[in-house]
């Protein structure tokens, strides 16, 4: 495996990334929406914390930072599919993907990395600036996103976020592979986001769920998307005990990649390119 082997895939990521960066209006609209929801979520959380005297598994300060990170990184969640891949499968243009000297799974995985990161960068940067710098400036210190405690925490967060990206892409790829079978992405697009949003901790931080659910929540794959990296960031997961959680992220990513590859190979073998 020489560097040229990878350069093809790197070129795919960068080309797709550039293509997706063009959609500035969508990014701006997304930013405003996320901002709005972020404020509402924080108000609800303040109300919850004010209504209870019991000690909570997360402090309100941690929860606020967690919410802002979630609003910034929303695009990274596997809640959507690559419209181009869907169109290619539907129209039969997928033929062209098969006459390239590339491994199809890796090829599409690269496209997926671009999909998950391009929209996210466009929204995350202004969101972080707003929540970390903008809010304290206007006096809303309680509402602000706090920087991580120290550099090591930040590095641990970056590593965990990278693992979350792999996990998100691996899961998005599973959706793409299913698409090869079902042709239409409508069903998936309605069904998957609901599950992902709840079980990743995007709607309500997972530690705030009832105790009897914790055993299940801790092991399920979607936790690696949001819960693990964000709680590492806020310090809710202490650095010393972060390793097993990151390992869990990688484990689930590996499982999804293995499964996606197997299913893709299987479906390619019996593929009938539409319109042929």
């Amino acid at each position: 495996m020489s560097s040229t082997y990878f350069s093809a895939y790197v070129a795919v990521i960068s080309a797709r990334y550039r293509g997706l960066l063009q959609y500035r209006a969508a990014a701006f609209a997304g930013f405003v929406t996320q901002l709005f929801w972020g404020c509402i979520k924080i108000m609800i959380m303040f109300a919850f914390f004010a209504a209870s005297d019991e000690p909570q598994p997360m402090s309100i300060v941690e929860v606020v930072s967690y919410i802002w990170l979630g609003q910034a990184m929303l695009g990274m969640l596997p809640w959507s599919i690559d419209k181009d891949i869907e169109a290619m499968i539907r129209s039969g243009d997928v033929s062209y993907e098969l006459v390239r000297p590339l491994d199809l799974y890796t090829f599409w995985f690269c496209r997926t990395i671009a999909l998950r990161t391009a929209t996210t960068t466009l929204r995350a940067i202004p969101m972080v600036i707003f929540a970390m710098i903008g809010l304290p400036l206007v006096g809303a210190v309680d509402w602000a996103l706090l920087p991580p405690a120290d550099l090591i925490t930040f590095l641990a967060f970056v590593i965990s976020l990278g693992c979350a990206l792999m996990l998100a892409c691996a899961f998005t790829m599973l959706m793409h592979v299913v698409l090869v079978w079902t042709i239409s992405g409508e069903g998936l697009n309605r069904f998957i986001p609901a599950i992902v949003n709840v079980f990743s901790g995007m709607i309500v931080p997972l530690p705030l769920f009832p105790d009897w659910m914790q055993g299940f929540l801790e092991w399920q794959p979607f936790r690696g998307l949001v819960d693990v990296p964000f709680r590492i960031y806020t310090g809710n997961i202490p650095l010393g005990s972060a390793a097993p959680d990151v390992a869990l992220q990688l484990l689930w990513a590996a499982v999804f990649i293995w499964l996606g590859r197997r299913m893709l190979t299987g479906s390619m073998r019996r593929m009938v390119v539409q319109g042929g």
């Binding site: 070129a11 080309a15 000297p101 319109g275």
Partner: protein, 336 residues
């Protein structure tokens, strides 16, 4: 040695069938009848390096299926297929690095990127060395005159512009074989001519083997010395266009415009249609030579204008298809 060898190639598709009506829809949920449909049946041919072969047939005849098997996308049900000594679907990576493919109804360019960036991306995908890529690219761009389009995102190109760019894209890695699946479909006359000119040039100057499927008989007439006709999954004819003509319909056509609207009766000339003084004649050159017929016509009639032509190739092909629709396919031996 042949560059492409196809021997006894067959491809069957499983098609789920549903009985009509509501009951059919409901019972289809529980049990589906599968029917095996033959897209290709026992197809054999060989193509040598540097040939430009027309591969024609009606819709659903198996043209695209053949192209897809040859390009490694589909796996055949039975038969042997080798392209430059490789089995396409077994050694897909090495195989596809050496072929170029254009599907006329699809685009291989990236929708939201400028044309040039799609080209650069293909350079990386095919791992073409930088200097080699620059030379090939600039040469192709000049030959196809797409220079002004390079900065335009693909989604803003017209069909003709897009197809010209697509053709260039398929050649950037200097493939030794090029598959063109209906490249002229939907194009206007000017784009068609430009494309034809380019295809001929690639074939002559680079020695690229080209297999062209099309419904446009003018494409075939302008480009291909050899034509393979396929219908209902089997090969109906394989040979030079002239040979196909001779075997199927040796007759020539003559358009005659008379000065006077008068009775027309000349031996060996059959009147196909007549509109006033305009006559469409058909004659067999083996019975009467063209000069002799012209002499006889001018002797007995006053002629204003006269034009001799081949019957349109569409008619030949239609005849071939009609023959094949009879229970036993009329397999025509390739002419030498």
């Amino acid at each position: 040695m042949a560059q492409i060898i196809v021997e006894g190639l067959s491809k069957f598709f499983q098609v789920a069938e549903r009985r009509p009506g509501l009951w059919g829809a409901v019972s289809g949920l529980l049990r589906r009848d599968h029917r095996s449909v033959a897209a290709l049946q026992d197809v054999s041919f060989e193509i040598n390096a540097g040939e430009l072969v027309g591969y024609i047939g009606p819709n659903g005849a198996g043209k695209s299926t053949t192209i897809k098997i040859l390009s490694g996308i589909l796996v055949p049900t039975a038969g042997r297929c080798e392209v430059r000594g490789r089995v396409p679907w077994l050694e897909r990576h090495q195989h596809v690095a050496d072929i170029g493919v254009v599907f006329g109804q699809r685009s291989q360019l990236w929708w939201d990127l400028p044309v040039m960036e799609s080209f650069d991306l293909l350079r990386d995908i095919y791992r073409v060395p930088a200097s080699e890529y620059r030379d090939t690219r600039d040469q192709l761009i000049a030959e196809m005159s797409i220079e002004p389009l390079l900065a335009t995102p693909v989604r803003q190109l017209s069909l003709g512009q897009r197809m010209r760019c697509d053709l260039v894209a398929s050649l950037l890695h200097c493939p030794s074989i090029l598959f063109l699946d209906e490249p002229t479909i939907g194009l206007d006359a000017v784009s068609r001519l430009a494309l034809r000119h380019f295809i001929r040039r690639i074939n002559r100057e680079r020695g690229t083997t080209i297999i062209l499927t099309t419904h446009d008989m003018d494409d075939i007439e302008a480009l291909c010395e050899r034509v393979i006709v396929i219908g209902r999954g089997t090969i109906l004819s394989d040979g030079p266009l002239a040979g196909l003509r001779e075997q199927l319909d040796p007759e020539r056509r003559m358009k005659v415009e008379l000065v006077n609207d008068e009775r027309f009766d000349v031996e060996h000339a059959r009147v196909i249609s007549r509109e006033g003084t305009m006559l469409q004649l058909s004659f067999d050159p083996r019975r009467i030579t063209t000069p002799e017929l012209i002499r006889r016509i001018s002797e007995s009639h006053e002629v204003r204008d006269l034009l001799v032509e081949y019957p349109p190739i569409e008619e030949l092909i239609a005849k071939l298809y009609a023959d094949s629709a009879d229970s036993k396919p009329a397999v025509i031996e390739p002419s030498a």
